[in-house]
């Protein structure tokens, strides 16, 4: 914690960050440095930045060789994703007016058939659509649907009468095993994770009321 009080107007964190990045003009740099020389509080704040050298996970779209864990599972489930994609394609090619949905799939206007996968990371191990949950697990949702489609996604965690929404509802562009941005944990044991898909922001009251139209749910028992 920075315990000291600034001698005047504190140098903002944005300005300190830009100083660290050499992103300020010469005059501003000189003024900020002069302030830091005289102000222990702001100097300590700047030291926090300088001392914080932890690396970030790499961006998967740029570096496929060293992905963070939440993108590595794309490789692990490649076969599953391809199968899901093939299922979507097969459904699309069927001549029947209303083709049967694949497991974990729903039909969404503007996206066609969307297949949902629930992905769990436990102690570094990835599991697709697992059956149980521990508090230390990390969860993500993946979608597979035909390119050029778009669907709104909302995730609900149902535990008894309580329905919680760990991620913001968001619009996701279709593709093969597209990871919905954000990860979440599930506390308090057994739960049902429901993924609502719709052409617009899903109605949370519908989910709270137990209406499962356009929703894919998976029950999770309390893990060992």
């Amino acid at each position: 914690m920075t315990a000291a009080t600034c001698i005047g107007e504190p140098v903002s964190w944005l300005r300190l960050e830009r100083l660290a990045l050499a992103d300020l003009d010469a005059a501003t740099t000189a003024a900020v440095r002069a302030h830091l020389d005289a102000c222990a509080a702001c100097a300590a704040a700047f030291a926090r930045i300088a001392d914080d050298a932890r690396p970030l996970p790499r961006l998967p779209a740029v570096d496929a060789a060293a992905r963070p864990w939440w993108t590595r599972w794309r490789v692990a489930i490649g076969g599953v994703a391809l199968a899901a994609g093939a299922a979507v394609a097969l459904v699309a090619l069927r001549p029947a007016a209303v083709a049967p949905l694949p497991p974990g799939g729903v039909r969404v206007k503007g996206a066609g058939v969307v297949v949902v996968r629930l992905v769990r990371e436990r102690d570094g191990a990835i599991a697709i659509d697992p059956d149980d949950v521990r508090e230390t697990d990390r969860w993500k949702v993946e979608l597979t649907c035909a390119p050029d489609g778009v669907a709104w996604v909302d995730v609900a965690v149902v535990q008894g009468a309580e329905v919680a929404f760990p991620l913001a509802a968001q619009e996701v562009a279709c593709g093969n095993a597209v990871a919905v941005p954000g990860a979440f944990r599930i506390t308090d044991g057994a739960a049902e994770v429901c993924v609502a898909l719709a052409p617009r922001a899903p109605d949370r009251d519908q989910l709270r009321a137990g209406d499962r139209r356009g929703v894919v749910c998976r029950r999770l028992a309390t893990g060992p």
Binding site: M1, T2, A3, A4, T5, C6, E9, P10, S12, W13, L14, R15, E17, R18, A20, L21, D23, A41, C42, A45, R48, I49, D52, A53, R54, L56, P57, L59, P60, A61, V62, D63, P68, V157, A164, F165, P166, L167, A168, A173, P181, G182, A183, F184, R185, T187
Partner: protein
């Protein structure tokens, strides 16, 4: 469309600063990294034009506050918050915006006022910097800040 390599370069350059900023709001590094990573993944997917640190600051504020505003996300954050990621304010007498107060203020303020709240009391921007960052007048910033202060005072009074 901007090539992904430009965003990758921006991610490497500005990412740590943005994670530190998100940490000051969310009070844990894991969620902060998620927010920043998701932001850049979206920029790449959209082929958005290259962006500067002030733009990214605003974007991270929005995304981090979305997590705070979500009831489930809020409960998780309160449970996992790490006090060491929240530096004490350096300005004498400044409002101390802990995660709980921030969450409750988010319920009472609209987006413009939430932005000012974070900019002033979490990022410790001056009023001039806030005006430049959000493209509004210093007078507007002052009005919004007064509204934020009033909401905070009301909350504190209710809790007393």
């Amino acid at each position: 469309m901007a090539p992904a390599s430009e965003h990758a370069a921006a991610y490497q350059r500005f990412g740590p600063a943005l994670v530190r900023k998100a940490e000051r709001i969310l009070r844990n590094r894991e969620d902060a990294v998620d927010v920043v990573h998701a932001l850049f993944a979206e920029l790449i997917a959209r082929g958005a034009a290259p962006v500067d640190l002030p733009y990214l600051y605003r974007a991270v504020t929005n995304r981090a506050l979305n997590v705070v505003r979500d009831a489930r996300g809020r409960a998780r954050l309160l449970e996992r918050q790490q006090a060491t990621l929240a530096p004490a304010p350096r300005a004498s007498g400044a409002l101390v915006v802990g995660l709980d107060l921030l969450a409750r203020l988010c319920d009472r303020l609209d987006a413009d006022h939430r932005d000012v709240l974070v900019a002033r009391y979490v990022d410790e921007l001056t009023q001039d910097e806030i005006a430049a960052l959000y493209g509004v007048s210093r007078k507007t910033v002052g009005k919004r800040l007064a509204r934020v202060d009033a909401a905070a005072a009301a909350l504190v009074a209710e809790g007393a």
